[in-house]
Symmetry: C4
Subunit: 183 residues, 4 copies
């Protein structure tokens, strides 16, 4: 996803060089969490499918293309976060890429519903739950892209927060059912 | 497939450096689309097989070798598109590699048919459809390789168009059947 | 995991350059063995599960994140083992990462037991065996992290020894049962 | 496996730079073919297994370690084939690694047979066939390692030939059975 590396000439002050890499760690975790959330969402979608059509496969391939592209904006943020002007560009490119990933995942689920690719036995409640989970957070990403033009660091942390919420969406509601005998 | 990277010394003009990478993005998408098309075609072939023989495995391994080689010409096009003389060499090497990939996939299907490796229950219509889909576009690739010697950019865009047609070949005909209740 | 590479300008004395890479080989094997042990342990855990809850998935994702991070401290040890001061930093970062990997794996099994995610048909003996196998060697890792601040090389070799014991824990006891007719 | 790359400063003579990489292509194909042969052999072994013991898993892990190491000697041959003295070192390291891969695969099958891990229903004829296929070509590799000290290029080509024979061992005998109705 992102090859972490201390710059050459770090001899004698390795600890500081490792600590100075914090934008890399942040960018790494943002990408990791977003890909994790996307993978979980994609798994949920294909779990309910009983078929696919050409349009679905086309959007699926576009999603794969954008996810494969993600390491590049991740590297840009890792390298340029902290350097005036350039960090705005890097954060914006990352934000737009993350927006594209989430939007495509949402479009995929929308296609499945509209084109009746979802297995008929799926309950309405499950469909509603997944729909809410995959709601692309469009508005949030757009807000953060604008924020990122002024304070890129806040935007990148915001992308991390969105990913965490996409990963653990049923936190409160589900616990009671799945853990009947927690000590 | 291709590690995207802005050149060192892009500080202060990152946006321009990112935009200047357009040959990389183009090369990246061409390889992505061709590998996607090959993967779909290969999946279709193995779906119909009920066995394999030594010759089939040999050609299959050769296909895998050429696909593994694809990142190299992709990188050549990404780096040299736009630089006189060199761009012709890069585009030609990419074209020949893509021609080899598609030809080997077609040979694979030909072998399966001729050596009776296809499951007997497979309908003639399905075989004809797949045969047409895998038709190697030999002529088209050869034309583009020649074109690439004069205008490499047009050739590379042409390789992208071929890949898209290989990915979505049944576009018009199939939609009516697979989407019976599109709103 | 770790891209091995002789430094540029090794022409004329390649053998010595290859031998000089011994810290890389050592770091490579430590990471390889630890990831192998983690993978085996993780397989054992999921083998006994009949379900998962949100907390389990969260810890699982954290484990994956830390394992994905392992190549970085591996590279630090490979590059800085042997250079005074820096090697202590590198060995400590590796030790802390390995401690995190093993702890998270142990937490995962603890969660499965406490939240009753383990299949009810699993025998108590099997649970005890796996618990002992996954015991995180916390104390050992902490001792080695301290040792590493004085003699990093010993610590790194110690990490290798721990990994081997995590991979082959039932060595003596199990052999008699699994190999009833060894000639 | 091996990242192919033309050296910087190849502008204006890209074709020659690409052709000058022939040692890379050769090394790439040798590794590709050997890994392919190992993978096929490993598949055959696990196909006949009905269990595994600690010793088997230990050797299996060692095999995986050596295969993961293969890209390094591949790169050494790619870079140093053609440069006096160094090319002998590179070819020898590659040869020893390939010998280790094939030996470990053979040891794995030997363990399966001696420890009765092979499924009882497996016919003697099948066992004999696989044993012959996995015979490690020990002698051949040792001869080529010695040859490589004098003429490295011949040794590397020899490694390629061995891999091809390991991939397609039943060439003549099997064709008649598997292709009953070749037109």
């Amino acid at each position: 996803m992102l090859e972490l590396s201390v710059p050459e000439g770090s001899e004698g002050h390795l600890l500081r060089a490792v600590l100075d890499l914090w934008p890399s760690y942040l960018a790494y975790i943002v990408s990791f969490a977003t890909i994790g959330a996307t993978w979980l969402g994609h798994n949920s979608i294909t779990h309910y499918l009983h078929g696919a059509n050409t349009t679905f496969l086309r959007v699926n391939l576009a999603l794969l293309l954008v996810v494969s592209f993600l390491p590049f904006p991740t590297k840009l943020v890792a390298e340029y976060l902290g350097s005036r002007e350039d960090e705005k560009v890097a954060a914006t490119i990352l934000g737009v890429t993350l927006l594209a990933v989430t939007s495509l995942l949402s479009v995929l689920w929308g296609l499945a519903l509209r084109h009746q690719l979802v297995h008929p036995a799926t309950g309405d409640e499950e469909i509603t739950l997944l729909s809410r989970r995959l709601r692309p957070s469009l508005a949030l990403y757009i807000v953060l892209i604008v924020v990122g033009w002024f304070t890129p660091l806040i935007a990148v942390i915001g992308y991390l927060v969105i990913a965490f919420f996409l990963i653990f969406p049923f936190k409160l509601g589900r616990r009671q059912k799945a853990e009947p005998a927690v000590s």
